[in-house]
């Protein structure tokens, strides 16, 4: 049966649709181009990711790598039980600030993502979105045995077994759960790799993009986002 009367929410939706600020209009961009904008649709770029090229001068690249290693800004994203190990890092006892490690609330401001423990398929979708929105050069630190081989959840229907099939991992910290000291050791190892110019896994993600996407889409059944979110 079709109800002739609209409920309040539907009336709100319809009036929103006809509101003057939501109509299609032509807008002039800063460089003088005129483009049509429809405020009721989502816009995203369909461009594929690009390889982050190193600087042509080796000396400059070495200096940049040193600078990158000294400012690791971590995305505040907790998955699983390991997210409990991260807050003590920022206390005076472990004091991650002395290594240049600090937490950031948004992927746009951070260059390290810590996958802290088991990863459900639902969370993996959010991790991929966050990871792809981060700025290059970016690094992944995988915490706990769950990210290595599934850990104690190896036979679960909803948690992944190997993280490196879905996003590239730079440093693994084994343990169940690793203590904050182990996490600090992981950061030291990551710094070593960056300074040696070996933490190039974000480029690996770009080069094997189709393979990673195939793996991700194999388990994420309701893929309702663009292929590359940035």
């Amino acid at each position: 049966m079709i109800d002739d009367k609209l409920n309040n929410k539907q009336i709100e939706d319809v009036s929103k649709f006809f509101a003057p600020e939501n109509k299609k209009r032509n807008v002039e961009t800063p460089d003088g181009q005129i483009i049509e904008v429809n405020p009721l649709t989502d816009y995203f770029s369909e461009a594929r990711p690009k390889v982050h090229e190193p600087n042509s001068s080796k000396v400059v690249e070495k200096f940049l790598n040193w600078a990158r290693a000294e400012s690791l800004w971590v995305l505040g994203f907790g998955t699983g039980c390991g997210s409990i190990e991260i807050p003590p890092l920022l206390t005076p006892r472990f004091d991650a600030f002395r290594f240049g490690v600090q937490m950031r609330p948004t992927p746009r401001q951070s260059n390290v993502i810590i996958i802290s423990g088991y990863l459900a398929v639902k969370t993996l979708k959010r991790v991929i979105r966050s990871y792809e929105q981060m700025q290059n050069p970016k690094y992944v630190l995988a915490l706990g045995s769950c990210t290595i081989n599934g850990g104690m959840y190896y036979d679960s229907y909803n948690t992944i077994n190997r993280l490196d099939k879905y996003i590239p991992v730079d440093v693994y910290v084994a343990g169940c759960m690793p203590r904050p000291e182990a996490l600090l050791a992981g950061f030291m190892k990551l710094k070593e790799l960056i300074k040696a110019g070996k933490a190039e896994n974000a480029n690996k993600y770009v080069e094997n993009f189709d393979e990673y996407k195939a793996n991700q889409k194999k388990i994420i059944n309701d893929w309702n986002m663009p292929d590359y979110n940035w």
């Binding site: 229907y157 077994n161 099939k165 194999k218 059944n221």
Partner: protein, 186 residues
């Protein structure tokens, strides 16, 4: 509280009563009367706190067992109402009108066990598993290890040791297998 249980027994003809503790009792009732009993306890006996709704899969009997945990905060008394429903086309009367948060439990049960609660709000929406197309995973016929091996990428070389023999080999490799018993101790 004995008084209350007796009254309930007369009113609703309970099929089973288990006194777990002094202040905690399991009542089993037929499916048709379960929500009636929950409503009665809420409205007339002061069981104002709904603790949780859980489900057990009795695959051998072909039944699901639903448990409604209720709490009476003033008298510090708990009652759990259990009811058995058929496993085939599992369906139960919705209780979301009594407490708002029951609808979340019902969404979860719908997703994990495939039990339908007609009329419950947002019952069709995904709860945790997004885009799940297998049989509901908490049903006991679902082989979770097989599914995991098929879907995810198991890492090679995973070995399981027996903890007792492994620790003995690691720590005391030369010790005899069975412990010697001193004759004096006997």
């Amino acid at each position: 509280m004995k008084n209350l249980i007796e009254r309930l027994h007369i009113k609703y003809s309970l099929t089973d009563i288990v006194n777990q503790r002094d202040n905690f009792v399991y009542l089993t009732i037929r499916k048709e009367n379960a929500i009636d009993l929950v409503t009665y306890l809420k409205d007339y006996e002061g069981f104002s706190h709904f603790v949780l709704l859980s489900c057990v899969d009795w695959i051998e009997e072909g039944k699901f067992q639903l448990s409604y945990f209720l709490n009476q905060p003033n008298k510090k008394f708990d009652i759990t109402i259990r009811t058995m429903i058929d496993r085939e086309n599992a369906e139960m009367q919705s209780a979301h009108h009594l407490w708002k948060h029951i609808e979340t439990y019902q969404r979860e049960l719908r997703e994990m066990y495939g039990i339908n609660f007609p009329g419950s709000p947002r019952i069709e929406e995904n709860f945790i598993l997004e885009g799940w197309d297998e049989i509901p995973p908490m049903r006991r016929e679902f082989d979770t290890k097989k599914y995991s091996e098929k879907t995810f990428f198991p890492r090679e070389g995973r070995i399981t040791y027996d903890p007792a023999t492994y620790m003995k080999d690691k720590l005391y490799p030369n010790a005899p297998i069975t412990a010697k018993v001193n004759k004096k101790d006997e």
